[in-house]
């Protein structure tokens, strides 16, 4: 019991970090689903590519010594922006090449194409990194100040890294919210999600709005990728798969198509997973441990889909005729 209490703040913090990352990725799934009613299976690779863009910028900076000279805040801002723009463009390109030609086809057709795109991108990144660096397991360089911790009195310490992830994610979520609810373009995106035909009749360029949705969703995924790299340091071309699957679970948990739902679902899933990973082994005397945390996430997914397919925030999912 004492151990359980002692690690509680740490576990909660880990869960929140994970949760905000899931939330950022889940937004990409949910936005695309809202507009096209289709699971963008390759979104996990958009996330992974964001992480690779980050490391590919930081490594040359480190090698030329510029990393130590520049202020970390500027470096972070630059890396985040580059990761977002690049991932956004990848997502947009994906829509153009692999999904747009399939609009109107039976619903499994674009899904299979998306699964193919996911596999293709994984090995494409592996190919490029293999040719370029002769390895595809990359490590983020340390960024000085963000590796430190802030003492909070007692045994408690707050790692700057975790604060950075949560702070950045919060800022992006607020920004996205403002963009979608307050701007004209955001309204247009919501209109297309609501009813593409009616939106088209109102003079909204539907194709362009769909591409923009992919860009914005991809940018959020890319930012999550950079944050993932900064926090966990190790990236490889296959490291997007499991976070992507869990973020999709989060999107379903929150009610797919519903943006606040995706954020809530992400945070809930992250926290549940962190607690399952730490406390399962305590509760079962070490027989079942952290290795079952993935099983937990999928069990939640199966239960939700079976008993409450609408998710927590309960948006009614339309069945396409």
């Amino acid at each position: 019991m004492e151990i359980a209490l002692a690690i509680f703040p740490q576990v909660l913090l880990d869960g929140l970090v994970l949760g905000f990352m899931y939330a950022l990725i889940a937004l990409g799934y949910t936005m695309v689903y809202g507009v096209l009613e289709f699971i963008n299976f390759a979104h996990s690779e958009v996330f992974m590519i964001g992480a690779f863009v980050g490391v590919e910028i930081l490594l040359p900076l480190q090698n030329t010594g510029a990393l130590a000279a520049l202020h970390p805040a500027w470096v972070l801002l630059m890396v985040l922006l580059c990761g977002m723009v690049f991932s956004g463009c990848v997502a947009m390109g994906l829509e153009r090449v692999a999904y747009r030609p399939l609009r109107g086809a039976p619903r499994l057709v674009p899904l299979i194409s998306a699964v193919g795109a996911s596999f293709f991108l994984q090995d494409l990144v592996r190919l490029i990194e293999s040719l370029w660096r002769n390895t595809f397991y990359l490590t983020y360089p340390g960024l000085g100040v963000i590796e430190t911790t802030i003492p909070l009195g007692g045994d408690l310490e707050l790692p700057v890294k975790s604060l950075l992830v949560i702070g950045t994610a919060l800022a992006m979520l607020l920004g996205l919210n403002l963009f979608v609810t307050r701007t004209k373009v955001g309204t247009a995106i919501r209109a297309v999600a609501e009813d593409p035909d009616a939106a088209s009749l109102m003079g909204i360029p539907v194709d362009r709005m769909i591409a923009l949705t992919f860009f914005v969703g991809g940018a959020m995924g890319g930012a999550a990728g950079v944050l993932f790299g900064l926090h966990y340091a190790l990236v490889n071309p296959y490291s997007g798969f499991i976070p992507g699957l869990k973020a999709f679970t989060a999107a379903v948990l929150g009610g797919i198509g519903n943006m606040p739902g995706a954020v809530l679902g992400g945070i809930v899933l992250g926290v549940v997973e962190a607690f399952a990973a730490s406390y399962l082994s305590l509760a079962t005397g070490g027989y079942f441990g952290a290795e079952y945390k993935d099983v937990f996430a999928f069990a939640i997914l199966i239960l939700i889909l079976t008993f409450r397919p609408k998710g927590l925030m309960g948006e009614v999912v339309r069945e396409r005729a």
């Binding site: 692999a98 619903r107 293999s130 798969f241 999709f248």
Partner: protein
């Protein structure tokens, strides 16, 4: 007259290709040409009985003979057969019933582990008495057990999830496969069921029931020399059974109900098709195919661990079905052949060739780029390891340009009275 020309042409092609492989047992290309004879047989405009005759000659006589020249050919043929059986199983789920199952490999793993656990000393870890490994004679009864276990698991998994919409179903099946793999990896404690990531070995092989007969005939054989041939024929029987079952199901009332559900679920329900029951049945049959194939795979490999049952396998089999043509039995067989051979022979051959080039130390002259030193090619670049790239590209390209596959299913089926449909 023309028909005779076809028959002789086909026979000549097969004879020449066999001779070529026989004379150059190391040539991958010669073997590819030989394998293409199967496609030739399918397309050749001769009577069905003749096709069957040629098919039997190639698979039952020529391939085992060539396999004795280069054992690797037999191994390739066995792998192809295993993937054909898997792809035919998935074809029932995806092709006939139109349900996307991304976790098909879970049922394959189920069958494999069923035999691996009881056909090795592994089961002693949780059943006292030292009864295990079971003797080889249990292999054939266990085949039926594997079929039953696969069907029941498919049914139980399908029960809650088959009411979901298609794309949700895909993700849930994928999640199920990942749960399965996590269990296989971690159920070595508190009680050791699966031996975790270390895997299980040695697994009992099927009984050499014909040994007595051979001895009576005065032939003594080394088991080590017999097993590849034995597994080849076992897999051949499996494939024949899979094709037969698929064909019988396709034209049955059940098969037509599946297709009706695939085309329009609501319409199917209104004409009185029990939609959920039919979907469950498709799921169970597909799972039974995968499970029995997995069991043969485990017996052939002697060693299995969870690494053989990754998501990549599910997607590989899906790519075979999609490439060949979902719902089309010859298409799926062709798709499985092409992709397995691509994976086992072409990509590996390319890797070997590249390695040879790297070590040769000679300079290549490339147009526009000038001299190029092949040893500069990074060692991490190995075509055999890029199966995801290849399979992914196949899925995208097929979906965009030819979603019905290379050999599409017949759209104009026969009417109930046997006359040609519209």
């Amino acid at each position: 007259m023309k028909r005779f020309a076809y028959v002789f042409g086909l026979a000549g092609y097969i004879a020449l290709a066999s001779l070529w492989v026989y004379s150059f047992p190391q040539s991958v290309f010669a073997f590819l040409v030989f394998e293409a004879s199967l496609v030739g047989i399918y397309f050749c405009p001769v009577a069905d009985k003749l096709k069957l005759f040629f098919l039997v000659v190639v698979t039952v006589i020529l391939l085992p003979v060539l396999g004795s020249v280069n054992g690797y050919y037999l191994e390739v043929a066995i792998q192809v057969g295993i993937y054909i059986a898997l792809a035919l199983g998935l074809n029932i789920v995806v092709g006939f019933a139109g349900l996307l199952n991304l976790g098909f490999v879970a049922f394959y793993a189920l069958g494999a582990y069923l035999w691996a656990i009881f056909g090795s000393a592994q089961a002693n870890a949780f059943i006292a008495g030292g009864h295990f490994p079971l003797s080889a004679g249990w292999f054939f009864p266990f085949l039926f057990l594997a079929i039953a276990a696969g069907a029941v698991t498919g049914f139980v998994l399908g029960l809650p999830v088959l009411r979901l919409r298609g794309d949700y179903l895909a993700i849930v099946t994928l999640g199920f496969a990942e749960v399965m793999r996590a269990l296989l990896n971690n159920l070595d404690k508190p009680i050791n069921f699966t031996n975790g990531p270390r895997g299980i070995t040695p697994i009992q092989r099927p009984p050499l029931f014909f040994q007595g007969l051979l001895q009576a005939l005065g032939i003594t054989v080394e088991p080590a020399a017999v097993y590849p041939l034995y597994f080849y024929f076992l897999v051949l029987v499996l494939v024949a059974a899979a094709v037969l079952v698929s064909r019988r199901l396709e034209d049955s009332a059940i098969g037509r109900a599946w297709k009706a559900i695939r085309e329009d679920e609501t319409a199917a329900a209104t004409v009185g098709i029990p939609v959920v029951k039919m979907k469950l049945f498709a799921f169970a049959v597909g799972a039974a195919f995968a499970s029995v194939t997995g069991m043969i795979f485990a017996a052939k490999q002697v060693f299995i661990n969870p690494e053989s049952f990754t998501f990549m396998e599910s997607i590989g089999v899906l790519a075979m079905v999609i490439l060949g043509g979902a719902g089309s039995i010859p298409g799926v067989v062709l798709g499985a052949m092409v992709l397995t051979i691509l994976n086992l022979q072409l990509l590996k051959g390319l890797s070997l060739w590249l390695n040879g080039l790297r070590q040769s130390g000679t300079l290549l002259y490339l147009p526009l780029l000038g001299d190029f030193d092949p040893s500069q090619i990074p060692v991490q670049f190995e075509p055999a390891k890029y199966e995801r790239l290849v399979f992914g590209a196949i899925l995208i390209v097929m979906m965009i340009f030819r979603p019905q596959g290379i050999l599409p299913a017949r759209t104009s089926g026969r009417n109930a009275d046997g006359t040609a449909g519209s």
